[in-house]
Each structure stands twice: as C-alpha cells, then as structure tokens.
C-alpha cells in the first residue's frame, strides 16, 4: 500500500500551479505538457509502423 501511495502524486499538488507566460499568453505547465504529448503522439501515430501491415508488393 505504501508502495502504491508513492505513486499517488508524482508532483506535489497542494502548492500553487506553475505557469508559463509569453507576452499575453499564459498557460499552466500541466496543460502545456498535455499539448506537447498530443503533438508527440500525433507524430508517432503517423510514423510508427502498424503491426500486421503487409510489405509492399513489387507490382504496387
């Protein structure tokens, strides 16, 4: 249980949130990370080979 609890919050959540600011744009680090993860997942989804995909035949 104690072991599991160590995963309960990887980041301390009882403090103020962290924010990044660029001119008038302001976003929480958490939200920014979600966007970055989405972009990474999108690129991986386009490039990663799909399992079971048959190799291209000579005539195609």
């Amino acid at each position: 249980m104690a072991f599991l609890l160590s995963f309960a919050a990887l980041v301390p959540l009882n403090n103020l949130g962290h924010y990044v600011q660029w001119h008038f744009l302001e976003i929480s680090v958490a939200n920014l990370m979600v966007i970055v993860l989405m972009i990474i997942t999108f690129v991986v989804a386009l490039l990663a080979p799909f399992p079971g995909r048959r190799r291209r035949k000579e005539n195609r």
Binding site: V34, L37, A45, L46
Partner: protein, 210 residues
C-alpha cells in the same frame, strides 16, 4: 394489398433506402483499403472506447451519489476513472481531428462526417465544463462563480445559469451526453455509408481512370 400499395408504404420505402445506403457488408465490413493500416486510424475508435468508459463510470457515479464519490476510497477511484477517461477522450479526439484535417477527410461528400465531428467536439466541451461545475465541492463553486459574469454578459445566463446546480447537473448527465452519443452514432454511420476517404493520389488516379 397490391404491390404498388406496398411500394408506397413508408416502412417499405424506409427499408429500401436504408438497405441501399447501408447494406450489412458496408455496416460491418470484412476488410479495409491498405492505407487504413496506420496508427492514425486508431484514434477514432480510441475516442469511442474512452467515451464508453466515461459513460460507464458516470453511470456508477449517478447510482451512488456525491457523498459517496467525495467520501469513500471506491468513490474516489470511480471519480478518478471518470476524470481520466475524459482526459483520454479529449486527447484521442484532438489527435483524430488533426489526422482528419491533414487528410482533408471531408472530401468526396463527407462534409456531414466532418460536421457531425465538429458538433460532437463542441458538445463534449460543453459536457466537460458542466461537469466541472457539477462536482459539488469548492472547486465547482469557484469555477461557476468565475464563469457566471462572462456568460451573463452575453445574455445566455437567462437560459443557462451556471450557478444553478440542478440545471448544470441535468445538462451534464442528460442532455449533453445524449447529444454526444447520438452524434457519435451518426458520425460513425456516416463513415460506414461513405467508406474511408482515399488518399490524394488514389483519388487523382480514380479521376484519370474515369
């Protein structure tokens, strides 16, 4: 009854239309074109699966009620499942949307597929926001008092009062989920009716062939 009378029946006409547009082999196909074997095509169904978990955990929350989801371990767990499946739902939906945008998947009479997607996206955002104000804790109080001035300044507050907990809860657990489910159904049926959009080169080839 004569054949012409049978032909004129609305049941007959409707059945023929449905059969014509969506024969069983189109509704549940065996194969898909080779270009569909890419991870990007997984995100539509991943969105649908996470929507399933959202609805399932939401039903459990509805059965047990706020005291339970705020005050017990199991309640916290289901509450967290509900939140995190929503996170995955939006995550997958946005990647799905980017993918379809990059493919211009509204081509070839698929505008309705795209538009049902757009409206589902908007309805889901509404469901998310009404969910935040339905938590019944200090967080939801804070969010609703922050939201009220903006919404009231548009005049919409007369019909959509974010401080009205009962109204927000009804939107969150009845109207918006119903909208999301019905729209998702239409969206997927549209994909089945039209078939997966061919890539640009394939489309050009078919045009030349014609």
């Amino acid at each position: 009854m004569s054949t012409s009378e049978i032909d004129r029946q609305w049941t007959t006409r409707l059945r023929r239309r449905v059969e014509g547009k969506l024969p069983p082999e189109k509704l549940l196909p065996d194969t898909q074109p080779t270009y569909v074997s890419s991870w990007i095509y997984v995100f539509g169904i991943a969105t649908m699966c996470s929507l399933g978990v959202v609805i399932g955990t939401g039903c459990i929350l509805a059965l047990r009620g706020p005291q339970w989801w705020h005050g017990s371990d199991y309640g916290h767990f289901i509450n967290s499942m509900h939140l995190w499946s929503v996170e995955i739902f939006f995550f997958c939906m946005v990647i799905h949307l980017w993918g379809k945008f990059a493919m211009a998947a509204w081509r070839g009479g698929r505008a309705l597929t795209w538009m049902t997607g757009v409206v589902t996206f908007l309805v889901s955002i509404g469901a998310g926001f009404t969910g935040y104000v339905s938590q019944s804790n200090f967080d939801s109080q804070w969010i609703s008092t922050q939201a009220k001035d903006g919404i009231n300044s548009t005049g919409a507050g007369a019909y959509f009062n974010v401080l009205n907990m009962g109204q927000m809860l009804m939107w969150h657990i009845v109207l918006l989920p119903l909208g999301a489910i019905v729209l998702t159904g239409m969206h997927v049926l549209m994909v089945r009716i039209k078939g997966v959009v061919p890539p640009f080169e394939e489309e050009a080839e078919t045009e030349v062939a014609q």
